[in-house]
Every structure is written in C-alpha cells, then in structure tokens.
C-alpha cells in the first residue's frame, strides 16, 4: 500500500470532528456560573446563620464537595458533566468527583489495594503539584522576607 504517514496524520487532523467549542463554552458558563451562584447563596445563608466569614467560606466548599460526592455516588454527576464540561470541572465540584469516582470504581478490589491505592489516580497530579508549588512559594516568601 502506498502510505505516507506524515500526510495521513495531517489528513486525520484535518477531517476529525471537532468539539463544539461555542456550545461547550455556553454550557460551561451556565453550569459554572450556576454552581458559583449556589456557592454565593450558601455563603449568605451561613453568614445569616451567624457564622464568621472564614467559617462560612469553608462550609460553602464543604457543602459543594458533599453535593458533588453525593451526585457522583448516585451516578448522576457524570451525566451532568457530559453537558456542563468545564462548568462542573473547574469549581471544587470537579475535584470532588475526581476523588470520589476512582474510589467508587475500585471498591471491588478492597479498601486497601482498591480504594486506598487508587483513590488519587485522577486527582494525584493536582495534589502533588499543588503541594509542591505551595512549598516552593513558602521558600520564596521566606527568602524575600529575609532581605526586606
């Protein structure tokens, strides 16, 4: 067969169906905005209930994480995320789903080698590099403070 790999790859790129970017952005805006509005409502509610601003903020994150974990557990989150895309991925909801879904998936292999070993397979890189950059920022902060 007459097969030019480079030309073939160009053709594959050229003709492959593209993600519907405008539609995806619209739904990401809608769902992401909706989640943030819900967060804001929760914040107002917790402040109204007499919590300090700091505690209320923490509780908002905890509530959203709980809701994402619950929706993942009952098998609804992925159906919503299929439409919402970055709208559910970017807020804390996406991170909660990224931790809960492998935990659920691997419970058939037991609590240690299944859930325990595999729970961070998706979220692992985020955790590692978030902690690493946090430590790096701390060092920079310390050094700058020494000379100022």
């Amino acid at each position: 067969m007459n097969f030019d790999r480079r030309r073939y790859l160009e053709r594959v790129k050229e003709r492959e169906s593209k993600s519907p970017v405008v539609k995806n952005c619209f739904f990401a805006y809608l769902f992401g905005g909706g989640i943030c509005t819900l967060g804001q409502l929760l914040l107002s509610l917790y402040l109204f209930a007499g919590l300090s601003e700091r505690d209320a903020g923490t509780l908002v994150a905890v509530t959203l994480i709980f809701l994402s974990a619950l929706l993942t557990g009952i098998g609804v989150f992925d159906s919503i995320a299929r439409i919402a895309g970055a709208g559910t991925l970017v807020p804390v909801t996406g991170f909660a789903n990224a931790v809960v879904s492998p935990a659920l998936d691997n419970k058939s292999e037991g609590l240690v080698m299944g859930v325990g070993a595999k729970i961070f397979t998706v979220a692992g890189p985020v955790l590692l590099y978030a902690v690493l950059s946090g430590a790096l920022y701390g060092v920079i902060h310390y050094v700058v403070a020494l000379f100022s």
Binding site: M1, F3, V12, S17, S19, L104, D105
Partner: protein, 344 residues
C-alpha cells in the same frame, strides 16, 4: 503470510449467537440479538465477572442453538480486552474445553475465525471448534481509561466499547451435522500490524484505518478479485471517523468499494441517542454484529459473499504515554452463503 489462504474444504459456521448490554439492545440492531441484559451485570457482582458471565452466556446460547453440549467442542479460541483474557478463561473456557486465548484487541473475532478455520483445515481429527469474543464497556473503561463515574466530556472522535459478545461454532463443511444453509469460510488473509502514526488514544478509528486498507488492498491484489465480487465489505469497528479515512486511503490507492462498505461500529449504535460519538468498538462489537446481522443474512441467502475484516487498535495506555503511536491490525476472512453452494 503473503498469500491468500484458501481452504480446500470450506469451514462452515454451523451455529452462532450474540449477547449484548442495555445500550446495545436500545440501538438499531436491538431486536436481532439473542440475549440482552439491561443492567450490563449479567448476574455478576463486578464488571470483570460480568464479562466472564457474558462470555459463558454467549457460548451456551450458540451450543443450545446447535443442540450440543460443551463436551462436543474440541478446541476453543476466545479473547477479550481484559488482562490475560480473564473473561474468556474464566467464562467459556472454565468448562474444560481445550482453549487458546487470543489478544488481538478489537480484531479478536476475525483472528479467532481465521485461526479456528486454519486449525480445522490442518487437522481432520478436529471436528468442532468454537470462537468466542467479548468486550464489556465498564471493564474496558476501568482498565484503559477513566473511572466510570468520572465527569468529563469525551472527544467527538472517541468510540464506545460495546458490552457485547459473539460465539461461533465451526466445523468442516462436509460434516453431516452442518446445516446446508450454514455460512462458509472459504479463504482468509492474516493482517499485518501497521503503525498508523496516530498517538491520540481517543481516535482509534484513525489508528486502525491504514491496517484495514492494507489488508483489503493486499487481498484484491493477491486474489485478482474486485469489490464487485462481494455483496458487502464489512469492517469491525472503524467508526464514522475511521470508515471515512479507510475509503479515502483506498481511493488514493485506486480502489473504490462502490458503496459496499459497512462498519459494525457504525451499525451497532444510534449516534443520536447514545453518547457513543464515532461508534462502537471492542472485541464484542464486530462479533455481535456479525452473529446477529451478517451471518443470518448469509444463512437466508440475502447476501452471497462478504469480506469480513475485524479491526484492532493494539493500544497500551503506558506505551501511548511514552509517546509510541498506535498500531492497527485487520485480519480478513471470506464468508460465503451455504445456500448458493458458496465455493467459487
């Protein structure tokens, strides 16, 4: 092997069966399958065991159609997508049938039919061989991709691993128990692993299309036949993306399939109803569509001759991350209707 292997005595597929999961049974071919389980569980607790159960179920259905028991089978060729083909060894091979496990990714159904035909042809002592291939969406997603409940958007070029299985019982066409209408395998051509250069794990169709084109071109050049000698040229699971690429590659090499091409991955699902994007894939995709759509059409004499190419993307997630591209493979078998005498 650089020659078309023709069988002096054709091998007949004297019984076949298909079983699928919920999404597949809701698809356009839903009514044609012998068995379906809406829950995809097939009575088991884990997805891996569900596929074992699927494998066992589909073999038993084929045996029931032939009115035979597992003891009648001399040799079993079976494969799936799980590590060490556990669904096959734990499912249909656990009954003690002498077993060869196959791992040809989604090309396993074609590879199995080809090897079983060769084995039967090589040894008159073998009376009956079985070919069983399965795939399970949940077991495959767990092994190759992301957790099932992970919320993300799939690429439009991605395909959907079918929860499906197909079983085929083969014998020499001269056997008295082989029904006259049983479709026959008269020739085969092994595929060559061809490096597509594609490094996108979400575009398997593009990774397999060159291998399918290569086998088809080799077949027509070696046999001296042309697409008009066949009613259908069927590929396993190139999907919408890969099918278009295949036709382009063939046209560039001076071959026009004249509207005879069909792809099992495209046929299996309704693209508007399910989140399958470019179409179905997996060892069970081509096997179930062959067993439920094309073989019955050959049995009824509605089709006379078809070329069947199961297509496989030989993909390892680790090698893909290491920057290696995906190799494709497409073994070919020639299937003829028993009704018209078959042999050319």
């Amino acid at each position: 092997m650089r020659t078309v292997i023709r069988f002096p005595v054709p091998v007949s597929i004297y019984a076949r069966a298909s079983a699928v999961g919920g999404t597949e049974s809701d698809g356009p071919l839903g009514a044609l399958f012998d068995f379906h389980d809406e829950t995809d569980r097939f009575g088991a607790d884990t997805w891996e065991q569900s596929e074992e159960s699927l494998s066992r179920t589909v073999l038993n259905l084929a045996l029931a159609r032939a009115g035979e028991s597992q003891d009648a089978i001399d040799l079993l060729f079976a494969g799936d997508l799980q590590n060490q083909c556990v669904a096959s060894s734990g499912g249909c091979a656990a009954a003690g049938i002498p077993y060869c496990g196959l791992y040809g990714a989604c090309s396993t159904s074609g590879e199995g039919l080809l090897l079983a035909s060769l084995a039967l042809s090589a040894s008159p002592a073998l009376s009956r061989a079985a070919v069983v291939t399965t795939s399970h969406n949940a077991a495959a997603e767990r092994q190759f991709r992301l957790p099932l409940e992970y919320g993300g958007q799939r690429s439009p070029t991605a395909q959907w691993t079918a929860t499906a299985g197909g079983a085929f019982l083969l014998c020499h066409a001269s056997e008295p128990f082989s029904p006259p209408s049983a479709p026959r395998i008269t020739a085969c051509l092994p595929g060559a692993a061809l490096d597509s250069g594609v490094t996108d794990g979400a575009n398997m169709g593009a990774a397999m299309a060159p291998a399918a084109a290569d086998t088809i071109l080799r077949y027509f050049s070696l046999s001296g036949e042309s697409p008009s000698d066949f009613d259908r040229i069927v590929t396993g699971d190139l999907g919408a993306e890969g099918s278009a690429l295949l036709l382009e590659l063939l046209r560039e090499n001076g071959l026009d399939l004249q509207g005879r091409h069909r792809d099992c991955g495209v046929l299996l699902f309704d693209p508007l109803k399910t989140d399958v994007h470019a179409g179905g894939s997996g060892c069970g995709c081509s096997a179930s569509v062959l067993a439920s759509l094309f073989l019955p059409a050959l049995e009824r004499g509605e089709l006379n001759r078809i070329l069947f190419l199961a297509t496989g993307a030989l993909m390892s997630p680790s090698c893909l991350l290491q920057g290696e591209s995906i190799r494709g493979i497409a073994p070919l078998v020639v299937l003829e209707s028993g009704k018209t005498g078959g042999e050319k």
